[in-house]
Symmetry: C2
Subunit: 294 residues, 2 copies
């Protein structure tokens, strides 16, 4: 690719996040090849000018830069590694960017496999949810070679606002894990605070007036506690995906010799919620556990 | 008291919080009688015009409205109840305001004892710390009769900004407990996120750049995580006081039939920290536990 024309992009994973992100890239003028497991979800983008491809390998063959955002680490592994994977089929010199929240170790493994074939790989998970994706103001946390990051930064800028290079391969994923670790115990605190307020006979919304802007304040308290009080447990972020993230983080923490009582308690609580049928709720659905004990 | 002259105030407890709060009342022109266990801490206020009294009872005898902010529930109990207490010695029609973070049940007990003698009592704990007290922008959470609250609201407005009536006696304390409950697990999350970032080799400050403004964001992450990273464990809020609050909250939760895994894990961690000599650290000192496992 030259600096005079926009590189051709590939995008694998047209889900809630991917369809907005790929849409922004298309609007920005990038030639775009796309693939998704469920083809129908890609129809809108195809009608806007994206080129459908029948596999991640085909996307890789057609693109200078391949972006993926696809669910679980096992999906990432399947998409990148092996003879039918993106790495084996990428054009020489391609840049591969996985934006899935996935395992730091897998990100390092992908970067090594890519590097062995003269490809460059970045791990670049995001936060900001479907709304952040739609409004192109995702936070993007990037691991890999810094020179590669510099090359594709304009592409990140089409999808996000807070774009930070965090270090070598895996660092993007590690940063996202730190993010999830902070959220996990925080959600316990928010649910317990609302449960305490309700059970002690207070008006929970009035309690939020007192506590949201001080030392107890948090994004979750301001944004999710009001939904909890209304009984709205619809997903911004799914319980099942959060459990995936907490499981990766706990494994990594364990490997680093760290004991995390907060994260352990949070994952235990979410597993309990999932076991009782709550895996497709939003993360604020954790509150149901506290209602159950009423 | 009439609406034409300012009522005479009593203030018991001239600590880090009390000296700023009493100072604002004095500057606002209220006649002020004060008492503190350690007299020397009251010297500055006396030189500014406050009248020293030798006991809480003497303060009560001299005042229309008595304000207290004094450490532990046992101190509150001693100051209010019994023959030498504020209630037994208050002038007819006095209003008694306890601003200590204390037990909701004790607040209800004090309100009943006061009411039996035609006195009015409010529980009105605060958040915002020493800085909030100094800058007169405390959050004040008030329980008791609403008509009493209306009468003394101008006094609260001299000391705070976010002043919310929460309900009958004990509701102020319950609100403060909900505040502490949200903070407790949140601090676990902040410490674990920073520990994760440091141990995985990331630049923790750069991680904060990525995660502080999103869904993981919180007052603690923005204000205490940077101190943790610098190794600054000086008290904004003391570990020993936080343990007191969490102990009250857990007891109340237990009485209400609520199981709080986050709060339980947080108190356990803080007890461990205190047992290893950390009770006079700031709450962010919890991070030392995660360093210890390095």
């Amino acid at each position: 690719m030259t600096s005079n024309r926009l590189p051709t992009l590939g995008f694998v994973g047209i889900g809630v996040m991917g369809r907005s992100m790929a849409g922004h890239l298309l609007e920005a003028g990038y030639p775009l090849h796309i693939y998704n497991r469920t083809r129908s979800k890609a129809d809108a983008l195809v009608s806007q000018g994206a080129r459908w491809q029948d596999s991640p390998a085909d996307v890789a063959k057609a693109s200078d830069i391949v972006i993926t955002i696809i669910g679980f680490p096992t999906d990432v592994e399947a998409a990148y590694l092996g003879p039918e994977g993106i790495i084996a089929n990428a054009k020489p010199g391609s840049i591969l960017i996985d934006m899935t929240t996935s395992s730091p170790k897998l990100a390092q493994q992908i970067a090594e496999a890519a590097s062995a074939l003269q490809l460059q790989a970045l791990d670049a998970p995001v936060s900001g949810g479907d709304l952040g994706a739609r409004e192109a103001r995702l936070s993007i946390m990037v691991g890999g070679e810094e020179s590669t990051f510099d090359q594709v930064k304009p592409i990140f800028e089409v999808m996000g606002k807070n774009i930070v290079y965090q270090g070598p391969a895996g660092s993007g994923q590690h940063t996202k894990m730190a993010n999830q670790v902070a959220i996990a115990s925080g959600m316990l605190g928010v649910c317990e605070a609302v449960a305490y307020a309700e059970r002690s006979g207070l008006d929970a919304n009035r309690v939020l007036e007192s506590i949201s802007s001080g030392a107890a304040g948090s994004w979750s308290l301001s944004n999710l506690a009001p939904r909890i009080i209304k009984g709205d447990f619809n997903p911004g972020f799914f319980v099942k995906h959060f459990i995936k993230d907490m499981t990766i983080a706990l494994q990594e923490a364990d490997d680093m010799g760290l004991d995390f009582p907060g994260l352990t308690a949070a994952r235990e609580a979410y597993e309990k919620l999932a076991a009782s049928g709550g895996e497709d709720l939003g993360t604020q659905g954790l509150y149901k556990l506290y209602q159950a004990s009423e």
